[in-house]
């Protein structure tokens, strides 16, 4: 395939996705502060908050109880993931009409490489068209960011939210990125940001201009990557077939649990969910892992790898249970359990008759 004459990537993000779907499907919720999330009584967390709820300082990943404290009359809805997947599929379909190079990051965001489809003088028209098509066909609002790298397009959409559009012209990379806070950069988490700030690197521009040797010494091979990203030069491509690396399911327990049978029952449900998703995505993995969080928030994982790959709930549960049993001690209580399957096997011949 010949190289496109230039590179332009859009980052499209559905605004308050789960909450918007709920408001769309249930007109009586429209205009009201609403949260989608786990059990109301227990310790579920907010998976999504409508823009009305965000005005009260409610945001995703916040414990449900805090959300209720901030706005007691808040509408609370249990998540309906199959519905979100369905709507997401519809939206991704709209993206695909524009370019085959669509890389979904999750149900509600995706990168689109439009380098080959869109001439530079039509960028804005096309991006507006995309927003309009999603709105018209699904009723949902997207924010679109654009730039010559994935980093720029994603930051642009983050800054433009909600219902926004921000396109950075090729050539304007540095002037756009330089003044921004360094922690807006993908890969700069709280820990990295702290180190950088300690060295008086507060903006993306300062990171771009910082010494490569020092970055390498401080962050290893991540150092040069950070500098490239900060300089608007990274070449990461939009990968339409991004592989799923792991399929997992986890749950925060309504109250800390130390009792074996109760934990195992929960684990069995999780294994079941994982198996269903594996089969849906046609994946089989050789490695099964469990994630455990103690009452004091200490979190650790244990894993086991096998010769043959599985998507079988019973197998996943058996292994997860055994891994978990080794960690149980009298008096030890858990607040979170998770199980996952990874190390996907590339291929296997399917058979006509079930194995005996």
């Amino acid at each position: 395939m010949p190289r496109a004459p230039w590179r332009y990537i859009l980052h499209a993000d559905l605004d308050a996705f789960y909450a918007s779907v709920e408001q769309l499907d249930n007109p009586e919720y429209r205009g009201l502060p609403l949260v989608v999330g786990g059990s109301v009584s227990g310790r579920g967390v907010v998976a999504a908050a409508s823009y009305e709820a965000r005005k009260y300082g409610i945001h995703s990943a916040m414990p449900m109880r805090t959300a209720v404290r901030l706005y007691p009359e808040i509408v609370q809805v249990l998540p309906r993931f199959s519905r979100y997947r369905e709507v997401s599929g519809q939206v991704m379909g709209i993206f695909h009409r524009l370019t085959p190079l669509v890389e979904p990051l999750s149900l509600d965001e995706a990168y689109l490489d439009i380098s080959r489809q869109v001439p530079s003088d039509m960028l804005e028209e096309v991006a507006r068209g995309l927003k309009a098509a999603v709105k018209e066909e699904t009723g949902l609002v997207i924010t679109v960011g654009g730039g010559s790298t994935k980093t720029i397009s994603k930051i642009a959409s983050q800054l433009a939210k909600p219902d926004g559009l921000m396109l950075i012209k090729p050539g304007d990379e540095r002037s756009f990125l330089d003044p921004l806070d360094v922690d807006l950069l993908w890969g700069v988490g709280p820990k990295t940001a702290e180190i950088l700030k300690h060295h008086r690197i507060k903006t993306i521009g300062e990171l771009a201009d910082s010494d490569l040797v020092w970055l390498s010494r401080t962050f290893g091979k991540r150092g040069p990557e950070l500098k490239e990203r900060a300089s608007g030069l990274e070449q990461d491509r939009v990968e339409p077939f991004r592989e799923t690396k792991s399929v997992s399911s986890e749950v925060t327990l309504p109250k800390d649990v130390g009792e074996r049978t109760a934990l195992e029952k929960k684990m069995e449900e999780l294994a079941q969910e994982v198996a269903v998703r594996l089969r849906k995505e046609e994946l089989r993995g050789k490695t099964i892992w469990v994630k455990l969080r103690l009452a004091d928030f200490t979190t650790f994982t244990r894993q086991q790898t096998f010769n043959s790959a599985t998507d079988d709930a019973e197998t996943i549960f058996r292994v997860a249970r055994d891994l978990m049993r080794r960690e149980l001690r009298p008096g030890l209580e858990f607040r979170l359990l998770g199980v996952g399957v990874t190390n996907f096997q590339e291929s296997s011949q399917l058979t006509m008759f079930p194995t005996e």
Partner: protein, 381 residues
């Protein structure tokens, strides 16, 4: 015994019975071929107790007689002789067969013919005649899909069903299923189904090749043995006992995508892809896309890739109905079926990347239907 025959006839006769000669047997006599004069012809017989093959060749019989001689030795010796008259003689009460041809002469130590296991005969039971080409085609289309070794012996066999005026052959090895139906010309007296070892049928087809006369099939009343009577040969085989899987259930009733493809182009693309698939456990990937233009011509892409070698993609015009689809097959299973389809157009029907794929010839030989089901490979796309 004193007989003479042509070297090529003798060599061919020994070749026909050769596959029934036992190897590694507790009964050493079955390593022999039985040579006997029989109504002015020479009769050659071999058996491994499961399969017995008898072949008759034209000969000039001057003196009747019978002897068992080591099959491999005689076969190799005869095949190295010039294509001339072969004279075989066995002096009375002797066990040494004298073989002369041109300026060669050999003496081969034989064994007591009385020890040679008698060839089973079938006198009662079912009897039916089938046109040779009809049976050969059915066998060629089906027998390769049987298992070569399996914990389930029935899968090493081919289900043969005679129902009214229909002949049906089915074989499945757990990864693929082939079902061929043909018209018999006349109705059978009684509907019957038996499981015949696939090897037996391959022998029948091999020995019958070139024969125009119909083949007579006989199954004994106890349904333990089957006999195929060819023009100059008889094949008797044990039947496999058990229940053949309900193959009707294994044939998908509907599909999401159907592509109609030229068989020879499909076979060529599969051959090319399988070169690249050798490394990667034989995975050939198929992608079907409907046509966008007015002519509706879509594409079947046949591709393979391997980490070390590289990749390959062949594109073929195809009439594609339904959703765009992708499915991966083991290249051997795909080329096996395309080989027997030979030419013409084939329909490939799929429902999902993990559901069986179905191949059906668009214009099968008159009076026949053929369906082939292949289980896909589970792959990361």
């Amino acid at each position: 015994m004193k007989v003479s025959c042509l070297q090529e006839n003798l060599s061919a006769g020994l070749g026909d019975v050769g596959r029934a000669v036992a190897s590694r047997t507790p009964l050493p006599i079955t390593n022999n071929v039985l040579i006997a004069t029989d109504n002015g012809r020479l009769k050659l017989s071999a058996t491994n107790l499961e399969l017995s093959i008898t072949s008759w060749i034209g000969a000039k019989v001057e003196e009747e007689g019978v002897i068992a001689v080591p099959a491999r030795l005689l076969t190799e010796f005869v095949s190295s002789l010039p294509s001339e008259q072969v004279e075989m003689s066995l002096p009375a009460r002797s066990r040494s067969l004298n073989v002369k041809c041109a300026r060669f002469e050999a003496n081969i130590s034989g064994a007591d013919p009385e020890e040679f296991p008698p060839t089973p005969t079938i006198s009662d039971g079912l009897e039916v005649e089938i046109a040779s080409d009809v049976l050969q085609m059915a066998i060629q289309n089906v027998a390769f899909a049987a298992a070569t070794e399996d914990s389930r012996p029935v899968l090493t066999g081919v289900q043969l069903e005679l129902k009214g005026d229909t002949l049906l052959l089915a074989a499945a090895d757990g990864f693929r299923l082939a079902v061929h139906e043909a018209k018999l010309g006349s109705a059978v007296p009684e509907d019957t189904s038996v499981i015949i070892p696939a090897k037996t049928l391959s022998e029948v087809s091999r020995i019958a090749s070139g024969q125009e006369e119909p083949i007579k099939i006989m199954v004994n009343a106890g349904k333990t043995q089957v006999l195929f009577r060819l023009k100059d040969a008889e094949i008797v085989s044990q039947l496999i006992q058990g229940t053949f899987p309900n193959y009707g259930q294994l044939i998908p009733k509907d599909f999401a995508t159907r592509a109609i493809i030229d068989v020879s182009e499909f076979a060529r693309a599969t051959r090319a892809a399988s070169i690249f698939a050798r490394d990667g456990s034989g995975i050939v990937r198929l992608q079907m896309t409907a046509g966008e233009g007015e002519d509706g011509v879509g594409t079947l892409s046949v591709s393979a890739r391997s980490e070390e070698v590289g990749d390959d993609e062949g594109k073929i015009d195809a009439t594609v109905e339904g959703e765009p689809a992708k499915i991966a097959f083991n290249s051997k299973y795909l080329s096996d079926v395309l080989n027997v389809l030979g030419q013409g157009m084939v329909a490939l029907e799929t429902s999902s990347p993990s559901s069986p794929g179905v191949l059906r010839p668009m214009s099968p030989a008159e009076g026949t239907t053929y369906v082939h089901v292949v289980m896909p490979m589970f792959v990361q796309w």
